[in-house]
């Protein structure tokens, strides 16, 4: 049962990363003049302490998990896709446009499908640049993020701005399309299941299908893939397309579940955080779920810390950054493997 030992080691190292990061965060808090343990307790309370807190954590974890699955699948094929942010924004854009055109409830499926396809196409651009022109996907996906951001920025200031023309944001998507919320007055929406479903499907796709096998072989050893007759171009395209679809879906789910419209600061960097999520998950699609909850809790906990103790927003972000850094330090070998 080698895989049990292996998963065990993976889990231990991920947990160690989180503990290291939290202690680093505690030191920052202590230096800034706050008692660290009560502060961490306040964070935990804010993230898990009540039904409301838990709902907030899961809301933040949903886009992180969807983007995280996407990034994980790209990592597995050897592609360092850091463009989840842009792919997610394009997905959200597609969802908002479709959500203004299709106004009946059953169209939810088409809106989400459209979001996934547009996110996928955005990732394809990077795949094309790589396979046709040899452009590193690290650079192209990063640059495509900026293009997506400024495209959205221009659209919400111009052609897609709300009818009232007051704020740089689009109108709301049709109410019939809004994802159901349970546990009101929390905002917990059915998109959580989409995220769980994507992780499971991603796992099955990667480990139980011939395509998944080809993706993994290409990622582990391009030479072996070459020898085995795996077409690297096709496989790269496929992996990035699926990766982009997940991120695009994240955008669609976020629009229909939470924001219901599009605006500049639509994503607080979910796509970038997803890279850390994928690393903390040790590039395992199912591991993405707890990793996403972990980062969602951190986001919600940091906001709670600010509410309860008055820790400035900047300090809260420092604590978050430490977690990301610690994940890379402890999971360094994993990061190298990508």
């Amino acid at each position: 049962m080698a895989w049990v030992a292996e998963s065990g080691r993976a889990i231990v190292s991920s947990v160690a990363a989180v503990i290291l990061a939290l202690s680093a965060g505690a030191i920052v808090l202590w230096v800034a003049g706050y008692a660290p343990l009560p502060a961490l307790w306040v964070m935990a309370q804010a993230a898990f302490g009540s039904q409301f807190a838990l709902a907030d954590t899961l809301i933040k974890a949903t886009p992180l998990a969807l983007c995280g699955v996407g990034v994980t699948l790209a990592f597995r094929s050897g592609q360092f896709n850091i463009g989840a942010e842009g792919q997610m924004l394009m997905g959200a854009l597609a969802a908002v446009i479709l959500g203004r055109l299709l106004v009946t409830g059953w169209a939810v499926v088409f809106v989400l499908l459209g979001a996934a396809i547009i996110g996928s196409l955005w990732a394809w651009l990077a795949a094309w640049l790589k396979t046709a022109r040899g452009v590193s996907e690290v650079i192209s996906t990063l640059m495509l993020n900026f293009i997506a951001f400024w495209l959205v920025s221009w659209l919400v200031h111009g052609p897609l701005q709300e009818g009232a023309k007051s704020y740089p944001q689009t109108d709301l998507v049709a109410e019939a399309l809004w994802l159901g919320r349970w546990l009101p007055p929390t905002r917990l929406h059915t998109g959580v299941f989409v995220a769980v479903g994507a992780a499971v499907v991603g796992y099955v796709w990667l480990f139980m299908t011939p395509i998944g096998l080809r993706v993994r072989v290409l990622g582990e050893s391009p030479q072996a893939a070459w020898t085995a007759g795996i077409d690297p171009v096709r496989t790269t395209w496929l992996a990035l397309a699926v990766s982009g679809a997940c991120a695009g879906l994240a955008g669609g789910v976020e629009v229909l579940g939470v924001s219901r419209r599009l605006y500049e600061q639509f994503s607080p960097g979910y796509g970038y955080m997803a890279v850390a999520v994928a690393l903390l998950a040790r590039r395992h699609p199912l591991g993405v779920l707890p990793a996403a909850v972990c980062f969602g809790a951190l986001e919600v906990g940091a906001a709670g810390l600010q509410r309860a103790v008055g820790v400035s927003a900047g300090l809260a972000s420092i604590v978050e950054a430490f977690v990301v850094l610690a994940v890379v330090v402890v999971g360094g070998r994993e990061a190298d493997a990508v």
């Binding site: 680093a24 030191i27 230096v31 800034a32 003049g33 706050y34 008692a35 660290p36 009560p38 502060a39 306040v42 309370q45 804010a46 302490g49 009540s50 409301f52 907030d56 809301i59 050897g78 790589k130 396979t131 040899g134 200031h157 007051s166 704020y167 740089p168 009101p184 007055p185 929390t186 905002r187 391009p222 030479q223 893939a225 070459w226 690297p232 171009v233 939470v258 924001s259 419209r261 605006y263 600061q265 639509f266 607080p268 906001a303 709670g304 600010q306 509410r307 309860a308 103790v309 008055g310 400035s312 927003a313 420092i318 850094l325 890379v328 330090v329 360094g332 070998r333 190298d336 493997a337």
Partner: protein
């Protein structure tokens, strides 16, 4: 197959460089640590203060009313957000409330989350500091009927949503009158943050005031699209100065630092906004339209005493909620007389400072 080849060489490089890379990362971590220590060390008190426990978990015996403020930017901006925080401090000291403050990202989803989080904790009053909080306040207010939501510069109301509008434009109108009198070029410039109604109204009032004195006065109004981008504000200010403007006014919060920078570089004059900002460029700032934080505190007091119904409250010069601070000795007796007359006319409602709208 370029894709495959790049990855092969990449992997090899990593195998060789692995121990060094990890070492590097660890070193980076410790350096960050030291920077953090150095950066925060100066400000840190000697003894760590105990954070107050989240009040949701410890119900208090004496029920102090609880008031929260959601700020759209840093409270250190010497302007709009500092003004909101001043009001919160007055609410704490003079109304005996327990207060909290949170800075919220410029995102409707985050604003809604912050409203919900405080409402969920049982806060009595939650202030969203800016018109952009209006929609989220109305949404969350439906789910929490026992909490009152206050939106500064909002334009809508509900049974438990009160909007408080500071008609700072009344003071900007006076600033416009001064600009038209003092300008040698007959041109002035106005720089806004995001093009939102409250800010636009304010700057158009400046233009209306300028044109009341000199109908030919040219006032260019530009928005930089941000409340914090000082570089963009400086560029915009320089551009307006290039076009001949010798007096600038702003309504762009923390980004205003860039406006004052440009004003100092080109030696022209400017107005502050929200608070007396003369200390930011003492030789160049003529005066500042101000909002009085007591106006906001007063609305909160009325809500706590159940004297305030859900409505849009307008506060201006006549309520002493909006004012104008002026540098001493910069204007003539004649202009002073004119300003006093204008102020009186505005207070009586004889002048509509918002006559011309965006």
């Amino acid at each position: 197959m370029s894709a495959g080849n790049t990855t092969v060489s990449g992997t090899t490089a990593f195998v060789v460089g692995r121990p060094a890379r990890q070492l590097w990362l660890r070193a980076a971590l410790s350096i960050l640590w030291l920077i953090g220590v150095a950066a925060c060390g100066g400000k840190a008190p000697d003894t760590p203060t105990m954070p107050q426990p989240a009040s949701a978990s410890t119900p208090q015996a004496d029920k102090k009313p609880r008031v929260a403020l959601l700020s759209p930017g840093p409270i250190s901006d010497d302007g709009w957000n500092a003004f909101g925080y001043d009001a919160l401090k007055i609410i704490e000291k003079e109304l005996g409330c327990e207060v909290r403050q949170q800075q919220v990202n410029d995102s409707p989803a985050d604003r809604e989350q912050a409203f919900r989080a405080f409402a969920q904790e049982g806060f009595d009053i939650i202030i969203g500091h800016g018109g952009e909080f209006t929609d989220q306040a109305l949404t969350v207010a439906r789910d929490f009927p026992h909490t009152t939501f206050v939106v500064t510069a909002g334009d809508k109301a509900a049974p438990n949503v009160v909007s408080v509008v500071f008609d700072t434009g009344e003071a900007s109108y006076l600033a416009g009158a001064i600009a038209a009198t003092l300008s040698k070029t007959g041109r002035a410039g106005a720089i806004g943050g995001q093009n939102i109604p409250a800010s636009a109204r304010n700057l158009y009032a400046f233009r209306n005031g300028a044109r009341a004195i000199n109908p030919k006065m040219e006032v260019a109004i530009a928005f930089i699209g941000s409340w914090t981008d000082t570089a963009a504000a400086r560029q915009q200010a320089l551009a307006l100065i290039e076009q001949g403007a010798d007096i600038l006014i702003h309504d762009c919060d923390a980004a205003a630092a860039g406006v004052f920078q440009a004003v100092k570089e080109r030696n022209v004059q400017a107005f502050g906004m929200q608070k007396d900002q003369s200390h930011l460029a003492p030789d160049h700032i003529i005066g500042s339209p101000t909002s009085n934080p007591r106006g906001l505190a007063e609305v909160v007091r009325r809500i706590l005493q159940r004297e305030q119904k859900g409505e849009v409250v307008h506060l201006g010069l006549k309520d002493n909620a909006v004012g104008f601070t002026l540098k001493k000795g910069i204007i003539s007796k004649e202009l002073e007389g004119k300003l006093n007359a204008l102020t009186l006319a505005i207070q009586k409602g004889e002048i509509d400072v918002f006559k011309e709208q965006p």
